[in-house]
């Protein structure tokens, strides 16, 4: 092939390309396209246990960690973390232990229950509310009374319990942020069982029951809903409540019901 031949072939090829380009341009114009249409970039969803697909030698933790936690069930909070629990971390779950240390419990056979002045009790709780760190009044006498009369807790006036419940409500509700706008939000309620230590801290992981109104269709929503309730309990602690009445609030069932929310 001579140089001239090569040149002419190259020329012809170029001409064809130009012609092709012009034709496709014309075709494109007829389609009125502006930008080259691009499909959405594909994204493949993978299980992270497979990741990272790195060509490099595996970085220590990234490679190791998925295996560490791979076994963790979706409810990861049930997987005990071997790491030492830090001081302010939530203690490891002991949900089954009710364990509020009993006040020096008098035996039931002793002393018949002395009537409690529940008005004192109520005012005590109410005052305890705003200034939590401060000890409310002198409660020792009342506590003694309670202790001495044990099964005294059995006979505590329901109004006292109601006041105590109100105190807990006032402290936990501000931390509750239920998922709003959900289709089923106002039909759902959930009960969270919480064990508190004497200093008002949550012991273990609060247990959320199955929300009412939960169906197969809204199970994801129900789970998120229950978690908002549990988060409220975990965020708003320690509770500031009279230690003398610890027997009453050591174990609490909180019913979260957003009926008053729009």
């Amino acid at each position: 092939m001579t140089r001239a031949e090569r040149l002419s072939i190259a020329g012809a090829a170029t001409a064809h390309l130009v012609l092709l380009a012009a034709l496709s341009l014309a075709w494109q114009n007829s389609q009125k396209m502006l930008a080259a249409p691009t499909d959405a970039v594909p994204v493949e969803i993978v299980d992270i246990s497979d990741a990272p697909r790195t060509p490099e030698p595996p970085k220590p933790s990234m490679e190791a960690a998925p295996q560490e936690t791979a076994a963790a069930a979706p409810e990861a909070e049930t997987a005990p973390e071997p790491e030492p629990v830090k001081a302010d971390a939530v203690p490891p779950p002991e949900p089954t232990k009710p364990t509020p240390p009993k006040p020096k419990a008098a035996t039931p056979t002793k002393a018949p229950p002395s009537p409690l002045d529940t008005s004192t009790l109520s005012s005590l709780i109410d005052k305890a509310l705003p200034k939590a760190t401060k000890k409310p009044l002198d409660t020792s006498k009342l506590a003694k009374e309670l202790n001495a009369s044990a099964p005294a807790r059995a006979t505590v006036d329901p109004r006292a319990a109601a006041t105590l419940a109100q105190a807990i409500r006032a402290q936990v509700a501000p931390c509750w942020n239920p998922p709003t706008g959900g289709r089923d939000v106002r039909r759902m309620t959930v009960i969270v069982t919480v064990n508190y230590s004497r200093d008002g801290r949550v012991i273990g992981m609060p247990q959320a029951g199955t929300p009412t109104g939960m169906t197969a269709a809204n199970a994801d929503y129900a789970r998120a809903f229950a978690e908002t309730a549990r988060r409220a309990v975990l965020r708003c602690q320690p509770l500031r409540l009279p230690a003398e009445l610890y027997d009453l609030w050591g174990s609490v069932e909180i019913n979260f019901d957003p009926e008053e929310m729009t």
């Binding site: 960690a65 099964p151 706008g181 549990r230 069932e253």
Partner: protein
């Protein structure tokens, strides 16, 4: 002895009764965006991609995720200044929960970006409940380097759906009519962008007036009305190829098209002999079925998500109102009775509401009502709020807001009427439609 036992039993009974835990009822909480930390994603390896280094992509991905979550109005991403330390791979997998608690983060989104041998990336996304000290979700996304935005949106969708219990909507796109020019010489072009405004581009040249673009469900096809050759007709645009095709061979004007939920049919209005009715066009057989008849303008049909019913607007009763009928045209009944006129109804993808435009007293508002017409609520109020469109999860409504000067732009509002916010567009904008979640 017997007496003692009896006495003990007397005391024991109430003691047992009291052993039940104290019961507390909480009937209201606070509606506040959840504080969430989204630190820069850690580089899984040090490689560079065509979209930047993995470190850079990790930073930008975290910003996209934080912005998505913030835009929902349900989350408040914490200022990265609150946590100056860089999150490394170890922290991704074992977050220091007490430290995140001290800055009041209730949830934490972390992850890694790793470059793959083929030039693509893997974005690994982890979500944690900070107060429970527990991982709540994890997912990997493998894509091209340029696809990192979509991977970030998918991560945001994962977090959103896990924390709200509803499906996400961030990995989606918006098509709308971009407008420019004077009122008398308005140029209208179809434009498309990601839900967060990124990747904006024009689809048509503006040579012909275009109106009412609508996505096909589950696929990336758009139907719209164009005045091509001064002949107003319904067209279909395929995003992948950019191909456009007129629908049917109708001599009459066709407009207000919308796909059926299965994508097999189009419903639209056709004006024949001064009478406008709703027709169904089967895309496979190309057969046309008339669904409404009688005098008046029947238009803006929109299917229920299960495909059994159609809501539409009609002035058959004297003024524009909303009507619902079965998908075959039977059982037509009026559902809107409020003050003023009601128009442009759109059935929510989750089926529980119909969004519409309410006009009256010189004001326009976008509202919602249940499919039987009950529970009507106006969500917005403006000089000209119109053309509602639903987010893929039925939780957010996009609409066009015009002002007295003739300018218009896109806005969104939560179904609860909260979180009204403007969606930035390069030019004026109207007639938005939201795509389904991308596959």
């Amino acid at each position: 002895m017997r007496l003692i036992l009896f006495t003990a039993a007397l005391f024991a009974a109430p003691a047992f009764a009291q052993s039940a835990p104290l019961r507390v009822d909480i009937n209201a909480g606070l509606m506040q965006p959840m504080p969430i930390a989204v630190p820069a994603f850690a580089p899984g390896n040090g490689a560079s991609t065509e979209a930047g280094t993995t470190t850079q992509i990790g930073e930008r991905a975290a910003q996209v995720i934080a912005n998505d979550l913030k835009s929902s109005g349900l989350f408040r991403p914490l200022d990265p200044a609150a946590y100056t330390t860089t999150v490394g791979i170890d922290d991704v997998l074992k977050p220091d929960f007490p430290a995140w608690r001290t800055i009041a983060a209730q949830a934490l989104v972390t992850g890694t970006v790793t470059s793959n041998p083929d030039g693509g990336i893997t974005l690994a996304c982890y979500a944690y409940d900070v107060f429970a000290g527990a991982e709540i979700a994890r997912q990997g996304f493998v894509t091209t380097a340029a696809g990192w935005r979509r991977a970030a949106h998918k991560c945001a969708d994962l977090v959103y759906s896990r924390l709200t219990g509803e499906s996400g909507y961030f990995d989606s796109r918006i098509v709308y009519v971009s407008e420019t020019g004077t009122r008398t010489k308005r140029i209208k072009r179809l434009a498309i962008m990601d839900q967060d405004g990124a990747g904006h581009r024009f689809l048509t040249s503006g040579q012909n007036l275009v109106l009412t673009p609508r996505f096909a469900p589950g696929q990336q096809t758009i139907t719209y009305m164009s005045f091509e050759n001064n002949r107003p007709r319904v067209w279909i645009y395929t995003l992948g190829s950019g191909r456009q095709e007129a629908v049917g061979q109708f001599s009459a004007m066709t407009f207000a098209p919308r796909f059926s939920p299965d994508g097999q049919n189009l419903v639209f209005s056709m004006a024949v002999g001064g009478n406008t009715d709703i027709y169904r066009f089967n895309l496979a057989t190309r057969s046309t079925t008339r669904l409404t008849s009688g005098p008046g303008i029947d238009t803006s049909p929109s299917y229920s998500p299960d495909g059994t019913k159609i809501v539409f607007e009609s002035d058959r009763g004297g003024s524009q109102q909303l009507y619902v009928m079965n998908a075959d045209g039977s059982g037509q009944s009026r559902i809107s009775f409020g003050e003023g006129r009601s128009a442009s109804p759109v059935w929510s993808p989750r089926g529980d509401y119909i969004a519409f435009t309410r006009m009256g007293g010189g004001r326009f508002g976008v509202g919602v009502m249940r499919p039987d017409g009950s529970g009507e609520r106006l969500l917005t109020n403006g000089f000209q709020d119109e053309s509602p469109a639903w987010s893929p999860n039925g939780r957010v409504i996009l609409f066009a807001r015009g002002d007295r000067s003739g300018r218009s732009g896109l806005w969104s509002v939560d179904i609860s009427g909260l979180n009204e916010r403007r969606i930035a567009t390069p030019l004026d904008a109207s007639d938005p439609a939201w795509s389904p979640l991308l596959p």
